[in-house]
Amino acid sequence: MAPKQLSSAKELIRRAKVLMVGAGGIGCELLKTLALSGFEDIHIIDMDTIEVSNLNRQFLFRQSHVGQSKAKVARDAVLRFRPNINITPHHDNVKDPHFNVDFFKQFSVVLNGLDNLDARRHVNRLCLAAEVPLVESGTTGFLGQVTVHVKGKTECYECQPKPAPKKYPVCTITSTPSKFIHCIVWAKELLFAKLFGDKTQDNDLNVHSSDTSSSSENLEDVFERKKDEDIEDYGRRIFDHVFGYNIEMALSNEDTWKNRDRPRPIYSKDTLPGKSIKHNGNISKNGSTDDTPSLSAMTSLGMRSPQDVWSLMENSKVFIEALKLFFTRREKDIGSLTFDKDDQLAVEFVTAAANIRASSFGIPLHSLFEAKGMAGNIVHAVATTNAVIAGLIVIEAIKVLQNETENYRMTYCLEYPNRNMLLMPVEPYEPNKSCYVCSKTPLSLEINTHRSKLRDFVEKIVKAKLGMHSPIIMHGSALLYEVGDDLEEDMVANYAANLEKVLYELPSQVSGGTTLTVEDMQQELVCSVNIKHRDEFDEEKEPDGMVLEGWSQPPPEEKKEANHTVSNAGTSISGGPVSKSSEVVEIITVEEELEAAPPKKRKLTTIIDRGAASPGGYSSIPNDTDNRGKVQVVDDDDEEDMVMLDGAPGVFDGDSDTSKKRKLV
């Protein structure tokens, strides 16, 4: 902001109509600061309801609000100190079709306080289509950032690569875990899903088995509780199968263990006392009402602290007890459960199962608190960072209202000072000319058109990579696929049939040289995809069996090992059961919450990673000497400091034109 313009902004602020997306950690702070700053017309979209673990930072919410709409409660709380302003809550998903381009067009500026990449991309596209400026934000622990995205003036949210979901090869999860997170993924995505989830879903729980003849036909039976089978017998049978028998089977495959430590099979008779007497008393401790969230194996067993690391025996007890409680007290849930970090019993089961598996493989055990963080994609969050970030968002929003393009800044909130700065402003980048979202640059796709089905293209590219929710796919004027509520029945059948066809055999043949048009009506985004036929793909490196180019590839994972030991407290497994067709298990890391800095600011990325990699929060301080060769200080004496950040041209797709030096103002 230029001098003296703060007061002249008052009227602009008063008349502005702003949209906040997200009423969580940043959202609560933002709504408060907007109201105090004089904004009088604010819309909030948030589909979430309030949870206990929100209360430590989402200060507009109280214990008595748990379960209610965040957007609505936030509105009421702010009206208590600013009763005369208009706040319109929408307890809805921002991806809901009625939040279309026309809806977005009514706002002067959109402010994001979101917690996931998917929604951020969606809002970015709507803002571009509606030509409404977007102020984007994110925090993790003590780190945060605010960026400004104005069509044609600054880069869009998707101009720079975003960290990809972390992926683990299936064999690591099913056969050769080496880190606790692998055990968590196994316990949650495979075992939990197998026992309590949708039975019709494919499940890789036993893929490792070398003895295919013996496994496949009787597998279905192993996990099924037999008629009249005693629940404890059933629990022990499952225990012995997954921790004992399956490990024995894996051990029989000698090749696997040539360069690895051999796991140890664990049987229930070795870790548990003899079959316990029916202790009805214990179960009734949990109450007779249908109080699902508080049902707890720990409570039954008299275990208190979620911070304790349980012994193998304790884990075994929790495993059996949790399984019993599911089958005796939550029988109606079985078959439809997916893991939920707020489901105490599910967290207990997954913790115990992961720990028992970790014991087998000689991996250090973890507490329920830690396991919950890993399994639940729990983002480290504190009120202070959110407050700072909210202040910075409002400052940028006011500049946007004043149309002070040259003063827009992206600001990093750092844990450790960098060149004396805790809050570090950087000039925004120009739009990336090869961005498929804001510059409509065509993409190209290498794919085996004789083997890959339209369904593969829709799922792995259009939805997973391009982030479209209701796509239309066209070849010239021929419609190949579309999603919508008002489609004719015969069209629906037609599209369903197309999905199962390989590209080459579609009614309008797709082969090398074809250009497909992919469009999302709601996002008003159209992409051209040039198809290139390729016969073979590397199964390990190109698990999708197709390669998309022109789509910003995420930076290569740098210090894999270091990142995984601790940072996985914030790691999650993307929702939904793993289907057999997918060769990898996707893990979305906490860095997704805090978008990594673009490649030109590699040093910043490192700083941010370091902070995120340390849930204790206090890692070493990058000082000026650390930055030698990365950050140059230009001493232009009287004027403000300039910091030059070296570009990393050519390393990343579509980034070659941004190697010019950046001024830090």
Partner: protein, 357 residues
């Protein structure tokens, strides 16, 4: 039969982290996300900390919110002023109308609101003039934060904190229009600095008092020193000389302020351009606190207090500045080797990053 009491949070005090005691299940659930940031030990220390805040405004309201949410042990507020439109302007803890205020002081009004934020924190308001409180009063606190007061009051409270045998951390914070300043005095402060992986070093920082810091000759300060540092000293001086209440300054005072600037620059033998006129103009003609800056200052200060109380992380030393116009949040060390006659150089001060072991 039904023995589950998860729904009820305990009232403050009773079950909170006594020495060596575990946090309760309720506390672990409530503080889950932040324990993941700073650890269980830090959370235990936080629940034992006593904080005093003198002077209620938009910035300290933000700070109070942050530390109440974080779960400090007790928070005591002192500010006998009553409701005014000005007090309301950047403060979300005050009811929007005088009729709702029941003749209560600002401290009482804010305390009422803050109690709601976290039933596990003991929040109270105290009546009286902060200057009349003796050392033994301040010794009850681990942290003292002052705002809305003149330089001489800050110095006096700072000295009282320093005269107590145990360490009482002292902070002052001010937001003037689009600018803000935080001062920190932790006296002598030891903390563990984590180096790569398993390595950790014990570090000790030595802080000057406000009086000592401000005595550092301007000429010896780093050339890149934030201009806000000088500008704030000019305004402070003006308010002190003219006996104005803090922030009781307006555009019409600009000529007098510029005159003081000139005198100070001459006395300190620095060029006048180090204290730009337009910055001073902005500071004198501003309309009180700018809420986004309050949020930023309250956030940074909250974080610093949490660090100091939990002895985790490197605290800032010893000034922090934020200016909306350049967007920078800068730390300045006004003590390191900035010797003056009443601020003798000791080895510790020169080598302010003394490594033990």
């Amino acid at each position: 039969m039904v023995g589950d009491s998860k729904g009820d949070l305990p009232k403050f005090g009773l079950q909170l982290g006594m020495e060596g005691e575990e946090l309760t299940e309720q506390e672990t659930a409530l503080y889950d996300r932040q324990i993941r940031v700073w650890g269980l030990d830090a959370q235990r220390r936080l629940t034992r900390a006593s904080i005093l805040v003198s002077g209620v405004n938009g910035t300290t309201a933000e700070f109070c919110k942050n530390i109440v949410l974080a779960g400090v042990g007790t928070l005591t507020l002192v500010d006998d002023r009553e409701f005014s439109e000005e007090a309301l302007s950047a403060n979300f803890l005050i009811p929007p109308e005088k009729s709702l205020c029941d003749g209560k002081t600002l401290a009482e009004l804010c305390s009422d609101s803050l109690k709601d934020f976290n039933p596990m924190v003991h929040v109270s308001a105290l009546k009286g003039d902060i200057l009349s409180f003796k050392e033994d009063f301040f010794s009850k606190f681990d942290v003292v934060v002052v705002s809305c007061c003149n330089l001489s009051v800050k110095k006096l409270i700072n000295e009282k904190c320093r005269s107590i045998s145990k360490r009482v951390a002292f902070y002052s914070v001010d937001c003037r229009d689009s600018c803000g300043e935080i001062f920190v005095d932790l006296q002598s402060y030891k903390y563990t600095k984590k180096k790569k992986l398993d390595e950790a070093v014990e570090c000790e920082l030595h802080y000057p008092s406000l009086e000592q810091a401000l005595a550092a000759p301007w000429k010896k300060l780093p050339k890149k020193m934030s201009k806000l540092y000088f500008a704030m000293r000019v305004i402070e001086q003006f308010e002190e000389i003219e006996n104005r209440r803090p922030g009781g300054i307006s555009f019409t005072d600009l000529p007098a302020v510029l005159k003081i600037k000139k005198e100070l620059c001459e006395a300190q033998s620095i060029d006048e351009y180090q204290v730009p006129d337009d910055l001073l103009e902005r500071l004198v003609s501003g309309q009180g606190e700018f809420p986004p800056v309050c949020a930023i200052l309250g956030g940074i200060l909250g974080q610093e207090v949490i660090k100091a109380v939990s002895s985790k992380g490197e605290p800032l030393k010893n000034f922090f500045f934020f200016d909306v116009f350049n967007g920078k949040g800068v730390i300045e060390d006004v003590s390191n080797g900035n010797a003056s006659s009443n601020f003798p150089i000791t080895p510790n001060l020169v080598q302010h990053f003394q490594l033990i072991d």
